[in-house]
């Protein structure tokens, strides 16, 4: 394998970080920068804010009064449970070397955070820049917490609470951690630079062969989708397609809400939905810009893209709905904003701001079409449109990332850490080739999560039962499952 051939393997997951800022590769072990560390901790709490209270309010406002608290309990409980699983074995399964299974999943070497001290550091996307491992672990924890919470929107107002919690524990373990590993786990820029430099410095054939073998080993110390070169800056596949398809599968398997299509199921408080959506938008800056793992120009790019793509999608849904249904609605506006946030997630560190706006416009219109027309045509009851917004928006964003990363379209281009060790240069890119890789990653995620979720839902249904009895559903989950009500007038 030559260096040029192996380039293909380092395309994934990495923005062409600010060239000027990247220091030449040096032998000294880098130390975390206080600015990077601070930013990443703030980004982590912003992502936590997306779950609680953001997502809880966004979803809660959309259900009927009698189910308000059930949604809040579900989101909050999922965050708490998954946070514990994450430190127990989730982080280790997602972000360590898994030996023979390393293409698919990590191992247990850091279970219970063994060996992680305040001095431990992890790589970012720049040579010579590291952040404390605890910071990175905490940031990724917030992603693991919010992703399964997204699923509940599809099965809200009828899911049995105990069944949901068991499902979530299984789901993060066999669906989320592997996908996160496959898409985001890699050796890091310094390991690549060091191995590549050794190859360039190798004097004779024997040394070259050893160095090449070492470089190959470093390159293959990455998840499968990363090795394909799939680009997913902040979680289009890992978070949104993953949760979105699981939601659709769940909605199909659990069945429609009692009275769906016959009774009024209008949202009980769009005021809260708007507050939740606004918190999601604010928190998403931590999600997207934080995914750069350091504070630099690419972070700012992701930040700006997150701003403008969301604005474009909100405007786009508003206009399309206005034309199609006669009135511009608040729910349309905030749904468009969330669709835009979802779509820009995989692209936010790769696309340029103008490309992001185009993506946002597309996301608003496409997701509107899926939530209004496609859902009605097929008749499935995805209560809060997890599929129509997260899965569809995620697919759109993942595919568009392959296009918008193009330098010619204002994108960053693809990072190459190998050709010139210690600096990042622009890697090879063809639109068709990248789009093909993105498509493969999308299909793989749909199959992995779709089939895996179907098996898990079936299993939980057989053992516990997914649905509450009809009379409990009629009474409302707040009283029936949790013994309290949201509003005591």
């Amino acid at each position: 394998m030559t260096i040029n051939k192996s380039l293909k393997s380092v395309l994934g997951g990495v923005a062409l970080a600010a060239l000027a800022a990247a220091p030449a590769f040096a032998g000294d072990a880098p130390v975390p920068n206080k600015g990077d560390t601070t930013w990443m901790l703030i980004a982590s709490v912003l992502v936590l804010m997306m779950s609680v209270p953001g997502l809880a309010l966004f979803y809660g406002g959309l259900v009927r009064t009698k189910n308000m608290l059930s949604v809040m309990v579900q989101v909050f409980a999922i965050v708490a449970v998954v946070a514990l699983i994450w430190v127990a074995y989730g982080y280790s399964l997602a972000f360590t070397n898994g030996g023979d299974l390393n293409a698919y999943i990590g191992g247990f070497s850091k279970a219970f955070l063994i060996g992680i001290t305040p001095e431990s550091v992890v790589a970012t996307f720049s040579n010579g820049v590291v952040v404390p491992e605890l910071t990175y672990m905490a940031f990724q924890m917030t992603f693991a917490c919010i992703t399964p919470a997204l699923i509940i929107g599809a099965i809200a107002e009828r899911i049995r609470f105990s069944a949901l919690i068991v499902f979530v524990i299984l789901w993060v373990t066999v669906i989320y951690f592997p996908i996160a590993h496959m898409v985001w786990y890699w050796a890091g820029p310094d390991a690549l630079a060091s191995a590549s430099k050794a190859l360039l410095d190798a004097a004779d054939d024997a040394a070259k062969a050893t160095a090449q073998a070492n470089l190959d080993a470093v390159l293959s110390d990455a998840g499968m989708l990363f090795q394909w070169g799939a680009l997913d800056f902040a979680g289009g596949t890992v978070v949104h397609i993953n949760a979105g398809i699981a939601g659709l599968v769940g909605a199909l398997m659990i069945g429609k809400r009692t009275g769906y299509g016959k009774e009024l199921m209008s949202p009980h408080s769009l005021t809260m939905t708007m507050i939740g959506a606004a918190l999601l938008w604010v928190g998403w800056f931590g999600f997207n810009a934080g995914s750069n793992l350091e504070a630099n120009g690419v972070t700012a790019l992701a930040f700006v893209n997150t701003f403008v793509a969301t604005a474009a999608a909100a405007a786009s849904w508003l206009v399309v709905e206005w034309m199609a249904k006669g009135k511009p609605s608040l729910l349309g506006l905030v749904s468009g904003a969330v669709a835009g946030l979802v779509a820009i997630t995989p692209a936010c560190g790769f696309a340029g701001p103008m490309g992001s706006i185009v993506l946002g416009f597309a996301a608003g219109a496409v997701c509107f079409f899926f939530c209004s027309t496609v859902k009605n045509a097929f008749g499935y009851d995805d209560s809060l449109d997890v599929f129509g917004i997260h899965c569809v928006g995620g697919i759109l964003g993942a595919l568009a990332t392959g296009i918008l990363v193009s330098k010619g379209l204002g994108g960053t281009g693809i990072a190459d850490y190998i050709t010139s060790p210690g600096t990042i240069v622009e890697g090879a890119y063809t639109l068709g080739g990248q789009l093909w890789i993105q498509g493969k990653a999308v299909v793989f995620t749909l199959l992995w999560s779709g089939i895996g979720s179907a098996i898990l839902f079936k299993l939980v249904d057989l053992v516990i039962g997914l649905r509450v009895p009809v009379e409990q559903e009629r009474e409302g989950l707040d009283i029936a499952s949790h013994g309290e009500r949201a509003y005591n007038y």
Partner: protein
């Protein structure tokens, strides 16, 4: 003694109250209700899901008055609650068998 019960548009409450106060009617019970008549309902659309809302919010007011006041009370409510649009509401009149003021024990017309 009669109960005059009227179903009115919610935003007309203050005008009706003012009209009744100027007649010397001191006391009024208001209930938030939902219903439909000739106005029927309207359509609400949430992310493309259309719901026909058949029951519209209205206010039900109830006034207990002496029998000789009924005509004036009806006229006052009609004048104050009228917009001329469909959905203005209706007035119903019922007889009262007895009335008691709880604090003093006064009966019938004295209790109104």
């Amino acid at each position: 003694m009669k109960i005059v019960m009227a179903i009115i548009k919610p935003f007309k409450l203050e005008e009706v109250r003012d009209a009744l106060t100027s007649l010397g009617v001191h006391g009024l019970t208001v209930t938030e209700v939902k219903g439909y008549g000739r106005q029927k309902g309207h359509t609400e659309i949430y992310r493309g899901a259309e719901y026909a809302v058949s029951f519209l919010p209205k206010l039900k007011i109830e006034v207990a008055v002496a029998t000789d006041m009924v005509g004036k009370v009806i006229d006052a409510i009609t004048a104050a609650a009228k917009t001329g649009q469909i959905g203005d509401g209706k007035i119903f009149v019922f007889p009262i068998e007895q009335a008691v003021r709880i604090r003093t024990g006064e009966r019938d017309n004295d209790a109104l």
